[in-house]
């Protein structure tokens, strides 16, 4: 069923990491990504890998799932690896025609690929363990100091969560419109690219009209339920740090501290 689609890549289990406050996970991921750029030695990489594996094990997300997070960046990985491998000057150990491999190149390739992989795995671990709703909530709270400079943080978060609610509904509607247009003889399969894009027009126009109509009705419904912006609003489930969240913060800072102080 089209309604069953999940947005993002949340993997639902009951692990310690899943129960952490989303703010801890967002801040932790951010710290981890920064930490990846603070070292350039083997011990640093081993430490970062060990830390990631520890968190991943705690999260109970199977490794095959985590590896899936790498799929969209495979091309970039191969591309950067190839660039580094063939174009790093240094002591050559193999040459064949114009191809020349150097020890420096191999080292650089391995490290840069590792860094990229850890970067992607680290951030996808966050999306695997946090629902889109929690992410929105966490971002709203983390960014709330920006309200002081009049950035509409609450409104942006509200927009994000409404978008998340309506994506499956609009996908279903697209499907319905496509079938309705196909029944009237519309052809989405043949023709060249431009032709096909033109053929999509009878889908997009009704879809936009309906989305705008829905938005109007939703706004009325929100008005009727006394919505008046973020001011004076309370939360049914306010984000509250528990002991485990504070411990998790401590672990993150401990990790970054060790990296900065002891690892070259």
């Amino acid at each position: 069923m089209i309604r069953d689609i999940t947005i993002g890549q949340y993997y639902s289990t009951d692990s310690l990491i899943h129960h952490l406050d989303p703010r801890v996970k967002i801040a932790g991921t951010f710290l981890y990504i920064i930490s990846l750029f603070t070292f350039h030695s083997l011990s640093g990489y081993l430490f970062a890998i060990a830390f990631f594996c520890g968190v991943a094990a705690l999260s109970q997300v199977p490794f095959s799932y985590l590896a899936r997070g790498l799929r969209p960046v495979i091309f970039m990985l191969v591309f950067t690896a190839a660039l580094n491998l063939f174009w790093t000057p240094g002591e050559s150990f193999f040459s064949w025609g114009i191809i020349e491999l150097t020890w420096e190149g191999v080292e650089k390739t391995v490290f840069i690929s590792l860094r990229l992989i850890l970067l992607v795995l680290g951030s996808s671990l966050m999306t695997f363990t946090t629902t889109p709703n929690q992410l929105t909530d966490g971002l709203e709270r983390l960014l709330s100091p920006l309200k002081a400079i009049r950035l509409p943080i609450h409104e942006i978060a509200m927009m994000m969560s409404i978008a998340l609610r309506f994506i499956p509904i609009l996908i279903e509607e697209t499907d319905k419109i496509m079938k309705a247009q196909a029944a009237r003889g519309a052809d989405f399969e043949t023709g060249n690219l431009i032709q096909r894009i033109k053929n999509m027009l009878p889908i997009f126009i009704p879809l936009f009209v309906s989305a705008i109509r829905r938005a109007g009705e939703l706004a009325l419904a929100m008005d009727a339920r006394c919505y008046h912006g973020g001011k004076g609003r309370t939360k049914m489930y306010p984000l509250q740090y528990r002991l485990t969240d504070l411990l998790a913060y401590a672990v993150c800072f401990f990790y970054v501290g060790i990296l900065i102080i002891f690892v070259p």
């Binding site: 309604r3 889109p132 709703n133 969560s161 409404i162 998340l164 609610r165 499956p168 509904i169 829905r214 009705e217 939703l218 009325l220 419904a221 929100m222 008005d223 009727a224 339920r225 006394c226 919505y227 008046h228 004076g232 609003r233 309370t234 939360k235 049914m236 489930y237 306010p238």
Partner: protein
């Protein structure tokens, strides 16, 4: 209520009117159609001189065909539209008082037609909590209210689910719970059953009837389905922005010609009873339910 209202002077009469949960005085609403250049080409009087009074705890139905102005009327009861002429009082508050708008909306909650377009959150219970959150109710109180309200519409087992997985009737019940969580005195259902299948429609009718009887909530049901109004205490029929007919369901259904003129048809069972009556059987023409008709025929 006090029968001596009629003999009181105008001022006391007015006081009494404001004590009602919903009261409209000569309410009219106009909107203008504009052409592409923004020039007014036509002024449409969507409602025209409507006087309606609703007592606390009543179950009122407002009937009307498409374009009779019944939805425009409903939007006035919630401060979503303001009168062009006349006034609307909700629990004694004039809806045009901007500073009391939230009180008006909290007192008279509104359920809309499309179940998908009035659910805001991705989780059932968080959606029910949306109203109280907006009103600044403390966290623990919200959770208690949400649970209570989901129980009273019998949806408590779905509270952690996504609304996308619910049927139309279930979604509408969640929407009703969302309104209930604001602790309203009155619920307005603006064609809330129009997009539902017959099963969903029955679910909603059962729910609002029990809310009316057990929780003593005032219900204003706006609809064009005649079957739904049979259980109402009082019915208003609207036609071209005016109240064309009013009375108990029995009184209203007896006026077949007038209803046809309003592009409405009486329930099948009443139609059957009237046909039988015309054929000479001892059946009254104002039968409202199957049981009633059977009881008449057994004599």
């Amino acid at each position: 209520m006090t029968g001596n209202r009629k003999w009181n002077n105008g001022e006391t009469n007015n006081q009494n009117k404001k004590a009602k949960i919903v009261c409209t005085e000569n309410l009219a609403h106009e909107y203008s159609r504009r052409d592409e250049n923004g020039n007014i080409i036509e002024i449409v009087r969507a409602i025209d001189g409507v006087d309606i009074e609703v007592e606390q705890g009543d179950f009122i139905a407002i009937l009307g065909a498409n374009g009779s102005g019944k939805s425009t009327f409903a939007k006035h009861l919630n401060g979503l539209l303001y009168p062009t002429e006349g006034a609307v009082y909700i629990d004694g508050i004039d809806t045009t008082q901007k500073e009391k708008l939230l009180t008006v909306r909290r007192t008279a909650g509104m359920v809309f037609q499309n179940p998908d377009n009035q659910i805001i959150s991705n989780v059932v219970e968080e959606d029910v909590g949306f109203g109280p959150e907006n009103l600044g109710v403390p966290t623990m109180e919200i959770r208690k209210r949400v649970l209570d309200c989901l129980k009273s519409v019998r949806m408590q087992s779905y509270r952690k689910r996504s609304p996308n997985h619910l049927s139309g009737g279930q979604k509408q019940r969640v929407a009703i719970a969302g309104i209930m969580a604001m602790r309203p005195k009155c619920i307005i259902l603006d064609e809330a059953t129009a997009m539902l299948d017959p099963v969903g429609r029955l679910e909603i009718m059962d729910t609002i009837r029990s809310l009316n009887q057990e929780e003593k909530l005032t219900i204003i049901l706006i609809t064009h389905y005649m079957e739904e109004v049979t259980k109402a205490d009082y019915v208003y029929v609207m036609q071209e922005g005016k109240v064309a007919l009013k009375g108990t369901p029995r009184e209203v259904f007896a006026c077949t010609e007038k209803l046809t003129e309003c592009r409405l048809t009486i329930p099948k069972i009443t139609q059957l009873a009237q046909e039988l009556n015309r054929a000479g059987l001892p059946v009254p023409g104002d039968v409202l339910s199957e049981e009633e008709l059977l009881a008449c025929l057994k004599i």
